[in-house]
């Protein structure tokens, strides 16, 4: 029990209980209502020994880091990195790795595995992974199956490496059937919606989480 708690990933900024190591969460919500803000909060731990890999297909890497710091977090390039999959990005730096575009799922996967391995080598054996967002990957991919293969592979790596994955998707941006299939690759969902008093969220499918809707901080 104690070992499990140590291994679990806590959410210091959110009214959530820790998620077990190896969990992959699908964060579902429309854009512009705090879905990305909640994602950045979920991939932030209190532990300075944790790594962070962020895959960004919608926004360039420098802007993501700005968003992250504007939300009051510190981006530490010695253990954090953004894989920038947008088309219009400059050359790779230590903090932002470039791939040729959102349709290059092979390239994104290679960069991801390489960074995960670098973290392990530098003694960081716990990492959170954020991805924003799945509909953009689907829009650029030649084939739905390629995106499923990519998600299945990346979530598998997170599961076996005892990481935590949070992948954002706007369910209204893709077909219901495609959404249901994508959801098969994940353990549970975090749902964001526009409430009366602003954006709110709840968790579905994880044991021992508080019930009901919570405001997105």
């Amino acid at each position: 029990m104690t070992a499990q708690l140590q291994d679990a990933y806590a959410f210091p900024e959110l009214p959530l209980d820790p998620a077990d190591a190896g969990t992959n969460l699908l964060l579902t919500g429309p854009p512009l209502v705090g879905t990305q803000r909640l994602l950045l909060s979920m991939v932030t731990g209190a532990d300075e020994g944790e790594g962070l890999l962020f895959v960004s297909a919608d926004e360039d890497g420098v802007s993501i880091i700005e968003d992250y710091e504007t939300a009051g977090h510190t981006f530490d390039p010695s253990r954090m990195c953004v894989i920038d999959c947008t088309d219009h990005s400059p050359e790779s730096t230590g903090a932002v790795r470039q791939v040729s575009g959102p349709s290059d799922l092979t390239g994104i996967g290679i960069e991801f595995s390489s960074l995960y391995e670098s973290l392990r080598e530098s003694g960081v054996d716990r990492a959170r992974v954020g991805l924003y967002s799945i509909p953009t990957l689907l829009a650029f991919a030649e084939d739905f199956r390629a995106v499923y293969r990519f998600l299945h592979t990346v979530t598998g790596r997170i599961r076996t490496a005892d990481g935590l994955g949070v992948f954002a998707i706007d369910p209204d941006a893709i077909d219901d059937e495609a959404f249901a299939t994508v959801a098969q690759a994940f353990d549970a969902r975090v749902i964001v919606r526009e409430g009366d008093d602003g954006p709110e969220f709840r968790v579905r499918g994880l044991p021992d989480q508080p019930d009901g809707w919570h405001p997105v901080p």
Partner: protein, 310 residues
């Protein structure tokens, strides 16, 4: 992967010394029970993949006649479910993903301490997770595959019964094609097929791969406007424009395949139609169940030759 049998791994590297060392180290690893084949080029790798059942491919980036990415591209065409690991000193920036941008591969740098240990662990994980599949797996995949062994019908009488039922099905619904498909680990095998001459389909191309995960059935009124299937060229080539499938489920709840209707233009089905399709599927499963029990009994009763006289 059941984990009981030795894993068959293909290691591709133009450096002979590296081949020998990696093979020896992998075969000695306590993490894997593995049988390693080695080769140096894309062409010999393809020959090996055609000749032998390979569970996992590990490749250098620079091969004697191509790159590891070229090999990956061929692998996804020929054996799409086989996981591939790029194992190389070449960094991500220098790897040209070219035509294989949607192929997806695992990557492990060689310039780390004790790389073969990391490689063995990655091979183990990739196989355990059934990584790099392009379709979702039922939660009961292992049990499901074991059940297929028990229900497999290859005797003539059984095949005729399945054929008869499939023909009735096609006539009843007035569709272009009706079939019974068994979904194996990597492909769908057509047990009976009325209206077409289909033998096998890669599992990633088969709509039935998704039907296995349905509690009731899967109806796709227009295949080419469903995001999951619209890009699968072989479906359009086979004139699969509409699909209705009911999983074939064993009495203990394991889906082994599907009974399906295919039409060459988009179409819908009434609730009564779908209920009928369920009845056909139940009838077929009852047939298969009876035959399974019969063969169990035959196996359990010793042949007269071996029977002692009491």
């Amino acid at each position: 992967m059941s984990g009981d049998e030795a894993v068959s791994l293909l290691y591709v590297d133009p450096d002979e010394q590296a081949c020998l060392e990696t093979r020896t180290d992998l075969e000695a690893s306590p993490l894997l029970d593995v049988d390693v084949r080695t080769c140096s080029s894309l062409s010999t790798a393809i020959e090996t993949l055609e000749a032998d059942a390979i569970d996992c491919v590990v490749t250098e980036y620079e091969l004697s006649d191509a790159t590891g990415i070229d090999l990956l591209d061929r692998l996804r065409d020929d054996r799409p479910d086989v996981p591939c690991i790029l194992y190389t000193d070449v960094g991500p920036d220098a790897i040209h993903t070219g035509a294989a941008r949607d192929a997806v591969v695992e990557y492990l740098p060689r310039d780390i301490p004790d790389p073969v240990r990391s490689l063995a662990r990655l091979v183990r994980n990739v196989l355990d997770e059934r990584s790099q599949l392009a379709y979702p797996l039922p939660e009961t995949e292992d049990e499901r595959l074991a059940a297929i062994q028990r229900y497999d019908v290859d005797d003539l009488e059984a095949t005729m019964a399945v054929d008869r039922l499939t023909e009735l099905l096609a006539n009843h619904f007035d569709v272009a094609v009706a079939f019974v498909g068994i979904v194996d680990a990597h492909e769908e095998r057509f047990l009976a097929c009325k209206g077409a001459d289909w033998d096998r389909l890669d599992r990633e191309d088969a709509i039935c791969s998704h039907t296995l995960l349905e509690d009731e059935h899967l109806i796709v009124e227009h295949v080419q406007s469903d995001a999951r299937f619209a890009d699968i060229e072989v479906l359009a080539e086979l004139d699969i424009r509409s699909y209705a499938g009911v999983p074939l489920t064993t009495p203990d709840g394991l889906p082994i395949g599907a009974m399906c209707l295919i039409h060459d233009e988009p179409r819908s089905y009434s609730d009564d139609d779908i209920e009928d399709l369920h009845r056909f599927a139940e009838e077929l499963m009852e047939q298969l169940e009876l035959r399974r029990r019969l063969s169990d009994v035959e196996r359990a009763v010793p042949k007269p030759d071996h029977e002692g006289i009491k």
